[in-house]
Amino acid sequence: MSFESDLLAILPRLRRFAASLSRDRADGDDLCQAALERALRARDQWQPGTRLDSWMYRIMRNVWIDEGRSRQRAARTFAPAEAGEHVGHAGDRDVEAHVMLSDVDRAMHALPDEQREAIALVLVEGLSYKEAADVLGIPMGTLTSRLVRGRGALLELLGEAA
């Protein structure tokens, strides 16, 4: 198995992770594509024998963080945040994406980034706490408290709080 075919094998999961981090499916695929490009450039840094999926989750998260920062910078510099959200999007795509946004999409997007990534890795990707904490580079205790707070927020947003 080559590096590329190993990547191809986990690509469906990577797309799912990207979608759960992103505002909508189109942004998710853009993120996934950017993460693949970065991984291919950094392939020498991958240690064969270690888990490619964890390595890819880490890369995707870094791309996501970098892009989030540049989006925020652009929004602060050029326009109010709300206007910034629409800059650079084709009208059609935006409308389509909004129509397709479900309650879960909206609730996930409303979470702080640090909670969203923890929820995405554990609830969506099914990683163990230890695996997720490794990907995020945080202690287990920090992960579990983010999972607790993130879930509390999701329950509120989805109207499922008891």
Binding site: E4, R15, V104, V122
Partner: protein, 231 residues
């Protein structure tokens, strides 16, 4: 309810509670309907979030991502990666036609072993074309499917060879361990007659003129260069 209790319920739903704590939790839940309701709520939430994103995994991978992975592999069909650059190529439409043909063949057979690969953004001969460039002497090539035109030293050093085939003709220069393709034009097409070396495409002749240092290798020089691995 304290935060730790909530964390325990959640850990149970996530399959992260150790056995002893798990049994303790199950006993507590059995005795406390409110706690049972909270546990059920967390189980529903996990299922709802997971189910929402689960279908993505079953979808076919978008062609752009698949292409990205294919392109970065060791062996790549020529046409797709260079297609966007056609317009900037001075030789224009004729090359485009040959590349489209190459793409079609590559797709039909799903066989990446065409004559050209793209490594790190440059075209490199592979497969039969590479071995012909490695081994075939212009002075002794009989009915070979691809004929070597000239072997020559380029300005600045290094060997180059022109080649002519039915599908593709061009010029390749030795770079490291491979033949970097400098120029590619459509080949002569299916012909039955014997082709003279002098029948080379004018465009190839122009490329050779631009590259060549001195005069082409004669049979002895060519054989010696081959023996040294074109170094």
């Amino acid at each position: 309810m304290t935060d730790i209790d909530e964390a325990m319920l959640i850990a149970w739903v996530d399959g992260e509670l150790d056995e002893v704590t798990g049994r303790r939790l199950e006993r507590a839940v059995a005795e406390d309907p409110a706690l049972a309701e909270r546990l059920e709520m967390h189980r529903r939430l996990r299922a709802r979030v997971a189910d929402h994103y689960a279908p993505i995994e079953a979808e076919p991978v978008p062609p752009a991502m698949r292409a990205l992975l294919n392109d970065s592999g060791k062996v790549v069909p020529i046409a797709r990666p260079v297609a966007p650059r056609w317009r900037s190529w001075t030789l224009g439409g004729a090359i485009a036609a040959s590349l489209v043909l190459g793409l079609g063949i590559g797709r039909l057979s799903n066989n990446p072993a065409g004559p050209i690969a793209v490594h790190d953004g440059v075209m490199v001969a592979q497969g039969q074309l590479a071995s012909i460039l490695d081994t075939q002497l212009a002075s002794a090539q009989g009915d070979a499917p691809v004929r070597i035109g000239l072997s020559f030293q380029r300005k600045g050093g290094g060997w180059c060879r022109s080649f002519e085939g039915q599908a593709l003709s061009g010029v390749a220069c030795r770079n490291g361990g491979s033949w970097q393709v400098q120029q590619l034009v459509p080949g002569a097409g299916p012909t039955t007659g014997y082709r003279q070396a002098s029948s080379a495409d004018e465009r190839i002749t122009a490329t050779i003129d631009a590259l060549i240092d001195g005069s082409p290798a004669d049979a002895g020089e060519e054989a010696a260069a081959k023996a040294k691995g074109w170094r």
